[in-house]
């Protein structure tokens, strides 16, 4: 019976029930708006009962009621459920006569209702929620008057309006709550950030709203900042030296709707100065007029101090790098990328620092090994150290400068390590070793020359020793003769070594060779032009004069107290034809007789000077010897 007629599908419709649940009306306390509506409905329709009835899936619940004690009933006691399906007003003049309601427990029992008129209640989204109904205990065959029906419909619509407003209120409250949470979070974030402040400038009103931190930074009372203050109040906090340009930047950003990001100083009431970074953006309205300019500001004083310290450190390093007399090159590991080079390096290499991106690019440096091989990129100390092969390395190379000059340079590198000992970079010192290399080459020549001289001298000594022994009458005689000859040889060497050039003065050679035999200091008369001869001729001449003098002491002019010797030399002719001639004349000695046996001395003298002639006369009044030779041959450097 009821079940046939009851609109169960609509009662349980999920969308309808969802809409009802979403309104959060069920089981809420009475509210004036709804109370007013049921009282008006009751008055207008002249009924003892009026209800705002909400039909849920399992019951009907009354948000407001007049003349009806229960706040809810079961669905089988619901007349309103039938209203759900109605497009408009449902009127049942006598509930006992209608098959839908005659068995309703509210009809058959307490409170014995007889008349019902209800109009559907709609949610703001259009879903039907229940009904606004009026009930009487006596049947009304004529139902409601048209004015009463109209009033009831209007009141039902008023319920929908109230519901819409309630919903809006809820949404607004939620939005406000969300905003408050968001603001709380932002405030927490600003507080946590410590040095971060915020502002929001309402440009048309020239009112800057700012957070507490921002206000503190700019020397404004936080309460005032929260209410908003004109921009000029905040500008006062900027350091006087920065005020003007910061002001210009603000104007620029306002005019162009641009971004603002500047670092400037603030000067505080106590005179202290701090640095801030302010970042913000200006927004224009649809007409292109400046609207708002919000932003944040952060204290960067510590960073600025660190920057300044680092800058000072870098400046100090730079000044050191630029003043040291060696070239310096700095690279990072492991790439080998070159970071910096100093001025001295550029002077040595003949080009500005080559900022190679990696050690593989060191091939751009052109240099050669001692043996002419090109230096490979990976052979340079920087590459070796940055590549991790070693902690220090050195190399000497012949560097090809762009101007064509090749210079010997020494490159010595050292690893730069982190705290764990890992190589993070390398520094090399580059020095010009051209002078040292030249000196080494010179030394090399000198060493070879010395070795050669030594060998020649030894050959000479060996010949002297061999010849002395060959000709000596006894070992004692040989010992004395050898000693004397070696002394002469030594003196000739002294003369050669003392000279700046590789030659000896004939005058010196003669004086030294004869000094050994000059017992009175007046035995010799030595005359001749200033003349220099080579080492070989100097030694030969010294030895020959020594042999002549030895012979004179033994047998000739120097064997008697009155005897003396004159030694004269001259150069005849010029250029390639120049001829050296030396005359030895003994005087005042005993009558001379030619020797019966040719000893070492005479044999040596007979050989003469290089390429020259010898005339040795045993004249009765004194030995005469003339040595002549082409001057060119005497100057040969053996």
């Amino acid at each position: 019976m009821i079940s046939d007629l009851f609109p169960s599908a609509l009662v349980r419709d999920a969308a309808r029930l969802g809409s009802l649940a979403g309104l959060n009306l069920l089981d809420t306390p009475p509210e004036t708006e709804f109370e007013d509506i049921v009282h008006l409905a009751s008055t207008v329709c002249e009924t003892p009962v009026a209800l705002v009835s909400l039909v849920a899936g399992d019951r009907q619940w009354f948000k407001a009621r007049v003349g009806f004690p229960p706040c809810e009933t079961a669905l089988n006691a619901s007349v309103c459920a039938y209203t759900l399906a109605e497009p408009d007003l449902l009127t049942i003049p006598d509930l006992t006569a209608d098959p839908r309601t005659r068995d309703n427990p509210l009809v058959t029992g307490e409170p014995f209702i007889r008349f019902y008129a209800g109009t559907p209640l709609r949610a703001p989204d259009g879903q039907v929620l229940g009904s606004l109904c009026v009930i009487d205990h006596t049947p009304r065959p004529k139902g409601l008057s048209s004015r009463q029906a109209d009033g009831l419909r209007r009141l039902a619509r008023q319920v929908t309006t109230v519901l819409r407003e309630r919903q809006l209120n809820v949404e607004m409250r939620a939005a406000r709550d969300a905003l408050r949470v968001s603001e709380e979070r932002l405030a927490l974030a600003f507080a946590a950030a410590g040095s971060l402040g915020w502002w929001d400038w309402d440009i048309p009103a020239d009112c800057v709203y700012a957070g507490e931190r921002f206000a503190d930074m700019y020397g404004i009372d936080p309460a005032l900042a929260a209410q908003g203050a004109p921009l000029t109040a905040f500008v006062e906090g900027i350091h006087p030296d920065d005020r003007s340009w910061v002001g210009e930047r603000i104007q620029q950003v306002v005019a162009t709707a641009g971004e603002f990001s500047e670092e400037y100083r603030l000067r505080h009431a106590d005179g202290s100065v701090t640095w801030v970074l302010a970042r913000g953006r200006c927004f224009h309205d649809g007409d292109g007029k400046p609207l708002r300019f919000p932003g944040v500001v952060v204290d960067i004083t510590a960073r600025k101090a660190a920057d300044a310290a680092r800058f000072a450190g870098e400046a100090r390093l730079k000044s050191i790098m630029e003043t040291v007399p060696v070239g310096i090159l700095l690279a990072e590991a492991p790439s080998g990328r070159i970071l910096m080079g100093n001025r001295r390096l550029a002077e040595i290499l003949g080009h500005t620092t080559l900022y190679a991106s990696s050690s593989n690019a060191y091939g751009e440096f052109v240099a050669y090994h001692d043996d002419g091989r090109l230096v490979e990129a990976q052979e340079y100390p920087l590459a070796q150290i940055c590549g991790g092969q070693c902690k220090r390395a050195a190399i000497e190379v012949l560097y090809q400068r762009p101007d064509g000059e090749r210079r010997w340079i020494a490159i010595a590198g050292e690893a730069i390590e982190d705290e764990q000992g890992g190589t993070v970079g390398a520094v090399v010192a580059v020095s010009d070793i051209g002078d040292r290399k030249a000196a080494e080459a010179q030394q090399d020549i000198l060493n070879r020359e010395l070795s050669h001289r030594l060998k020649n001298t030894l050959t000479l000594v060996q010949s002297i020793a061999s010849q002395t022994l060959r000709n000596a009458p006894s070992l004692d005689a040989a010992r004395d003769a050898l000693a004397a000859r070696l002394i002469v040889l030594g003196k000739a060497h002294d003369i050669l070594l003392a000279g700046r050039t590789d030659s000896a003065s004939v005058d010196r050679v003669v004086q030294e060779a004869l000094s050994l035999h000059d017992d009175t200091g007046r035995r010799f008369r030595v005359r001749g032009p200033s003349l220099f001869v080579g080492p070989s001729a100097a030694l030969s001449l010294g030895l020959m004069l020594h042999e002549l003098a030895t012979n004179a002491v033994k047998y000739g002019a120097l064997s008697v107290p009155t005897g003396c010797v004159t030694v004269d030399w001259t150069v005849e002719g010029t250029g390639a034809a120049a001829e050296f001639r030396l005359d030895w004349r003994e005087q005042g000695g005993p009558p001379v007789t030619p020797p019966t046996r040719r000893g070492f001395g005479s044999r040596l003298i007979q050989r003469g000077l290089a390429g020259g002639d010898v005339a040795l006369h045993y004249a009765v009044e004194g030995v005469q010897c003339t040595l002549s030779a082409p001057l060119a041959g005497l100057r040969v450097d053996i």
Partner: protein, 127 residues
Amino acid sequence: MTLKPGAVALVAEDEPLVRMEAADVLGDAGFDVLEASTTPAVLAYLEMHPEITLLFTDVVMPGPIDGLALAHEVRRRWPGVKIIIASGRITPDPAQLPDGARFLEKPYSANGLARVVRELGLRLAIE
């Protein structure tokens, strides 16, 4: 001057004492010895005395050419002459020497010189 065929040595050395000693060593070894103190003198001797069989020369010598160039010249013009080159200054590569020439480093001993002479296979009259 009468020279022994097959045993004539020419000593080229500008230092008289050293030359004298070398001449004595070669003389003791059985050679007739001629002495020259310049490179032109060496060439003049060889032209005059085809019986010369051995040239013993220093490298550094007065004259338009040095002892090494002299040795090459002698090898070219007198292929039969044995050559010994001595020097305290250079140690030439064997390739720098004329074919068959021997090098003797200064200072050398009398025995050293005599040994090189023997190694050159010179038959000496005194033997």
